[in-house]
Amino acid sequence: MSRDPLQLVLPGFEQELADWRGRYQAQIGEDPVVRNRSGIEIRPLYTPDDWTGNRYLEDLGFPGKPPFTRGVYPTMHRGRRWSQRQLIGLGTPEDYNARVKCLLDSGGSAISLIPCNSVFRGVDCDEVSSSLLGTCGTVVNTVSHMDACLDGVAIAEISTALNDPSPFTLFAFLLGIAKQRDIPWTRIAGTSNQSDYISHFVANHMFYRLSLPGSRRVLLDHIEFCQQQVPSWNAVSVVGQHMQQAGATPAQAMAFAICTAIQYADDCIARGMDAETVLRRFTFFFDISISFFEEVAKFRAGRRLWARIVRDRFGVNDPRAMRFRFHAQTSGVDLTRQQPANNIARITLQALAGIFGGLQSMHTDGYDEAISCPTIESAKIAMATQNILRDEAHLCDVIDPLGGSYYLETLTDQIEAEIEDLIKPIDAAGGMYNAVESGLVQGIIGQSALAFQERIESGRQKVVGVNCYKDDLEDVEPSPYRPDPIAMERLVADFLRHKEQRSKRGTRVTLDELARAASSKSENIFAAVVESAAAGATHGEIVACLRAELGFGDPLIVP
């Protein structure tokens, strides 16, 4: 922080700065402290007094080389646009298929699949109230459901993200259809987008299908299986998004995601896997809030810190293993039920922050997502938003275009320091697994959620249409998406017929083998999951079998 060089390079700087400060204070009047969502105090002006660029090579460097602050690839979006990967999950497999094809025709370049909440709960479509089927995700319980979802979709050519928590039955179904279509598994590329069981336990989002220790083991089995048999598959996606949606600040979400990634890497190494090979396939998944500069800084800081952690904690120096590749999703928490069309503006800004943050893959929300799963109309607008940002706005011309901004670089440094501070108590607790088991992380996130809500209620955080600029007359709600109940009844009837008509013996033999592998403690169960699925076993049966062996997860409630 020596001032002398600055005075030498910029004679008169100090005097001009003092002069501006005087004029600012004379004019501003009341000037309350401004803090961003991560609690960092934001000053009115940033100058070479805050960030000089004298650590350019150590802290920023060039795109495609550690510490990757300016991007993980040399060409970034100028060379390869981000994957336009909308989360899709609705209705029956046929409904899903129609939606996927429509979005691929409208600019999508990768796909994702969100299953129905019944799948997240670990049960089949015949075990829950039919009114809840397919409202927020697609009912996928068998290989044939997956086949219908991806009918006519070239699964060897496109990257597929499956929102598929442990024990990864959707992935098993995908491998099943690859086999049926004579596609070698080595050509299947994509991501297990919800493999991060820790984030599920933290954010309580969707499932407690297996116990915490059971989930830990199954994830390692999954990683190992993919390494050996499906090498282009990203078995780990660390989901900071869940934490932020549950209330974590941007810095907290990044910190907890990094702690989670450290935990998974430690676990893989403890099992005897090669750190470099494992880390090369790690990916991340984040939320993009509307706190624009903070989000850009969050991504840059996370990218830099992760590269340093891979080098310093794991002693891995291969740049490919230090790359912080991530998918990001515009934040649903920022969207409002009030005046829903305003959400299009919010989503655009969030997406812009993600693009400037250097993401590899993006989902933009539908403007009606504060009301329901997106309708086809809103899903098309969300895709068009990405198309406009990519093709019309000249955003891809320059790599890391905000890099070098005095403000953004200062903020990137500050958020990085904040993340490092947040990692310390997690390390002290013995790592993320222990910190989640004890409720430490959930407590921190709960406090942040409450504090944020209080800022909205007090009006300190303005939300247009919610606590200011309210307009009840204009407030017309779009119709929510609801699946066709007749199609859903037919799906359940077909499913019951499938269970009757399949080879009962074949299914039983493979499920017995799965139970045996699970009870063996040391055997990798994943091959048996794939075999069971191929033999016609259903999602619910596979989960039930593993629950019996590995235990059922009880949610941990932190007051």
Partner: protein, 147 residues
């Protein structure tokens, strides 16, 4: 004690039924009610309708607050039916979260007292729960207050 008997704190069950586990909203509302001095029984998500009815009996619940983000309100009418069959029709039930306008009538007709969507304030929710608790108590009679 004194002649002006202070009402005992409302006994509220804050819970989620159905398939979804997003609990940010229910946790915040539970904190609000607790801070307002109410007795809050908070559960993890994914309660079965049976377990909600059982808890309502065992915990002497006066108001049930159900949180729904991802369409779980669609099974609330079934819960209302079961509460009535269990002789608990006096319990006030409110739903908070994401309930599209077009589905409000279905819930209100099933006996839900109030629906709080995005933008509902802490004060509105607390006032409503206090009223419903007072109502439940008056239906049940005042014999429990005699000590």
């Amino acid at each position: 004690m004194s002649a002006s008997v202070a009402a005992p704190p409302a006994r509220v069950l804050v819970t989620k039924i159905g398939l979804d586990g997003h609990d940010r909203g229910s946790r915040i509302v539970a904190s609000y009610l607790r801070d307002a001095g109410m007795e809050v029984i908070y559960t993890p998500p994914w309660q079965s309708i049976d377990s909600v009815v059982n808890m309502a009996v065992q915990e002497d619940i006066e108001v049930i607050g159900l949180s729904s983000l991802a369409t779980d309100h669609l099974v609330v009418p079934e819960l209302m039916q079961r509460l009535r069959s269990a002789g608990l029709g006096e319990i006030g039930v409110i739903v908070g979260g994401i309930v599209p306008d077009s589905e409000h009538p279905m819930l209100l007709e099933a006996g839900v007292s109030n629906i709080f969507g995005p933008g509902a304030t802490r004060e509105e929710i607390i006032a409503c729960v206090a009223d419903l608790a007072a109502n439940t108590r008056s239906v049940r009679g005042t014999d429990q207050e005699s000590d």
